[in-house]
């Protein structure tokens, strides 16, 4: 087992920044009678953590202050857990701001620990979160290291011990009295704490503290309750300020799509229908729906499709909130990677093309053709789903174009006329057919040519 603890040190403020940058500098305060600043964004750097909100207002008059929102943080952490399922099947929540990922089984797939860690932090960055991660064989060890700000990775117990020994005692979970006693005893690091006699430690501070140490060092099993994904995916974001630009909407939507990617990995599925609900300031809503012909979970592809769809969607005003829903999901067919570009590769390219065209032009804009056994020319063909195999049929000689509706020709001196006088080349071919289905025809077909050389 190898545990990766993913800590989100800036979660309290990131929940407000995720959907886009707000116009004014933003700080998050603790609330209450004497609000203190907990976190601030880049433009509010002057107002550091721990400063009283009133002092911050004096420094930066145009800051926007939000009160910390633990409920949203918790919900957000669950959404991140969903995203994290694309890296491993076992993810556990460690509130308020950490996730534990069992990555021992994922190393080979992602090309080693370093590659996996890079990938996770890069993807988290795209999702809108700063991360700090530590990897150790025990979950609590990883949690302690990540919280102490030590981005260490220890794949064996000896290295783990080395790293843990350096940590301050403050990382253990205990009450204020315990810390006070430890301080009086002159115990400052985990090494010093672990060196104390075990029975004395248990007597004085309780078994719980001893268990924590044992779990961190891996002497006691430490099972984690796995996070189980919801059966449906739906996630919302409130934009920092109302927008009507498609790109700004896509920025936020892309983050939701990344979250959905984790959900789709967890259920080994791809999405078939995607709904993005846009809510405007005056609470009007409009849905942008993207339908796919083959299930997909490629965030880039899905974002592209959404971009095309949004570019033709009439927005009901400035958009304040968006909700992404995976309406239909379907199992993904297992895919083999091939060294040479082959038929499967072409098929994939074709699907991508069709989805892209449909996203912008509408679902009916892309069609295939097929034959239908009927002697009436206008019924001898059908529109089908593109790429449908066609039954071979007796070859009939016909012109390559068919008019949507027959056009009546003008007569000049009793002869038909179309951009000039028409000369008869061939005909008639008499077709009498369909008296039984009410669409009976009795027609003579001619081939004619006008003076310009055009043949009809």
């Amino acid at each position: 087992m190898l545990w990766l603890c993913l800590n989100f040190p800036r979660l309290p403020i990131e929940i407000f920044l995720r959907a886009g940058v707000s116009r004014n500098p933003l700080v998050v305060s603790s609330g209450g009678n004497r609000p203190l600043i907990i976190a601030c964004d880049e433009r509010a750097q002057q107002a550091g953590s721990g400063m009283a909100l009133s002092a911050a207002y004096a420094l930066l008059p145009d800051i926007v202050a939000r009160t910390r929102d633990p409920a949203t943080e918790q919900r957000c952490l669950e959404e991140i857990a969903l995203w994290a399922l694309q890296f491993t099947s076992q993810v556990s929540l460690f509130p308020p701001a950490s996730l534990l990922l069992e990555v021992g089984g994922s190393l080979r797939l992602f090309g080693g620990l370093e590659a996996l860690r890079n990938r996770i932090s890069e993807s988290a960055g795209q999702l809108g979160f700063d991360t700090l991660s530590a990897v150790t064989p025990t979950p609590r060890g990883a949690y302690w290291l990540a919280h102490a700000g030590l981005a260490a990775s220890a794949e064996d117990h000896a290295t783990l011990q080395h790293h843990l020994n350096r940590l301050p005692v403050a990382c253990i979970d205990a009450d204020a009295n315990t810390f006070k006693s430890l301080e009086r005893m002159g115990i400052r690091t985990i090494r010093e704490l672990a060196r104390l006699p075990r029975d004395a430690l248990a007597r004085r501070f309780g078994q719980r503290l001893l268990d924590q140490l044992d779990r961190a060092f891996g002497n006691l099993p430490d099972p984690q309750s796995p996070f189980s994904p919801p059966t449906r995916f739906s996630a919302s974001l409130t934009l920092p300020s109302p927008v009507h630009e498609v790109e700004a909407l896509l920025f936020a939507a892309h983050r939701l799509i990344l979250q959905m990617t984790g959900y789709l990995y967890a259920s080994n599925a791809g999405v078939m229908r995607l709904k993005l609900r846009l809510e405007s300031e005056d609470t009007k809503t409009v849905d942008a729906i993207v339908a796919l012909s083959v299930p997909s979970r490629d965030p880039k592809h899905l974002t592209n499709l959404l971009r095309e769809r949004l570019s033709v969607t009439a927005l009901p005003g400035r958009i304040e909130a968006i909700t992404l829903e995976a309406k239909d999901i379907a199992q993904l067919a297992p895919r083999n990677f091939s060294f040479f570009p082959d038929a499967a590769h072409t098929r994939e390219e074709r699907t991508t093309l069709v989805e892209k065209l449909r996203a912008r032009l509408g679902d009916d804009a892309v069609r295939g053709l097929s034959l239908f056994p009927d002697a009436r020319p206008e019924l001898a063909w059908r529109e089908t789903e593109h790429g449908t195999r066609v039954q071979p049929a007796p070859a009939l000689s016909r012109p390559v174009w068919l008019l949507q509706r027959p056009r009546q020709l003008n007569l000049h001196d009793g002869r038909p006329w179309l951009d000039g006088r028409l000369r008869l080349l061939d005909g008639p071919e008499r077709i009498e057919f369909g008296w039984w289905d009410g669409l009976d025809v009795m027609r003579d077909y001619f081939i004619v040519r006008n003076t310009g050389g055009a043949t009809f």
């Binding site: 390219e349 065209l357 032009l361 295939g368 001898a380 012109p399 080349l425 055009a454 043949t455």
Partner: protein, 212 residues
């Protein structure tokens, strides 16, 4: 000549003025001897503008043998905004595999050109034929770049009025005559234009009606 230089000359991006008849990229046989002899078939990876003098003089029929050949490929043949309904039985008669035909109907010239570009860039099409209502010089350049990257047959049809304008397209062919005796005037091509029009005997076309 050194081998390195020789391979350089086979690069599609380079053409020499001295080789007037050499075309830039390996084309695909058009099915008409006269055409193949003078132009080396339909060029792949270079945009073609087809200007029929009248609608119905064989501007689409002239492409059918080449399309039949291309439809043997896994990739698609995209028809974007065709002016009428492409008639399935006729396409089958010409030897085209219907499963490879995709008809795209876009509203407006912008969407039609966008679709052409997407189809060319996707790598999923062996031929992309478009009938845009209008086309700007900038759009032509975009399409040309997309065609170069695609190794596909990329062509669009314009009105006879387009003749008066200059165009950055590498191949411009004016089509007139009649469907069984198509005259192709090569207004422009890589390596210099042709002075005399090509006559393409397309006797097979009328024979199928039993009157040729």
């Amino acid at each position: 000549m050194s081998a390195a230089l020789d391979t350089l000359f086979h690069n599609a991006a380079i053409w020499r003025g001295s080789e007037r008849s050499r075309t830039d990229s390996p084309g695909i046989p058009s099915g008409f001897d006269a055409f193949d002899e003078k132009l080396g078939g339909w060029p792949l990876g270079a945009l073609i503008e087809l200007i029929p003098q009248n609608e119905g003089v064989g501007e689409f029929s002239i492409l059918l043998p080449a399309l039949a050949r291309l439809s043997k490929d896994e990739r698609w043949i995209a028809l974007i905004n065709p002016p009428y309904i492409p008639y399935a039985p006729a396409l089958v008669h010409a030897g085209i595999d219907l499963a490879k035909i995709v008809v795209v109907r876009a509203t407006g010239a912008t969407d039609a050109l966008w679709s052409m570009e997407q189809a060319l860039r996707s790598g999923a099409c062996s031929a992309v034929l478009g009938w845009p209502a209008s086309i700007t010089e900038q759009a032509i350049r975009r399409l040309q770049l997309a065609t170069e990257a695609s190794h596909a047959l990329g062509a669009y049809f314009t009105q006879p009025g387009a003749l008066a304008r200059t165009s950055p397209v590498p191949y411009r062919l004016q089509i007139n005559g009649t469907v069984e005796d198509i005259r192709v005037e090569v207004l422009k091509r890589r390596g210099g234009g042709l002075t005399s029009p090509l006559h393409i005997q397309n006797a097979a076309y009328l024979k199928c009606y039993g009157c040729a």
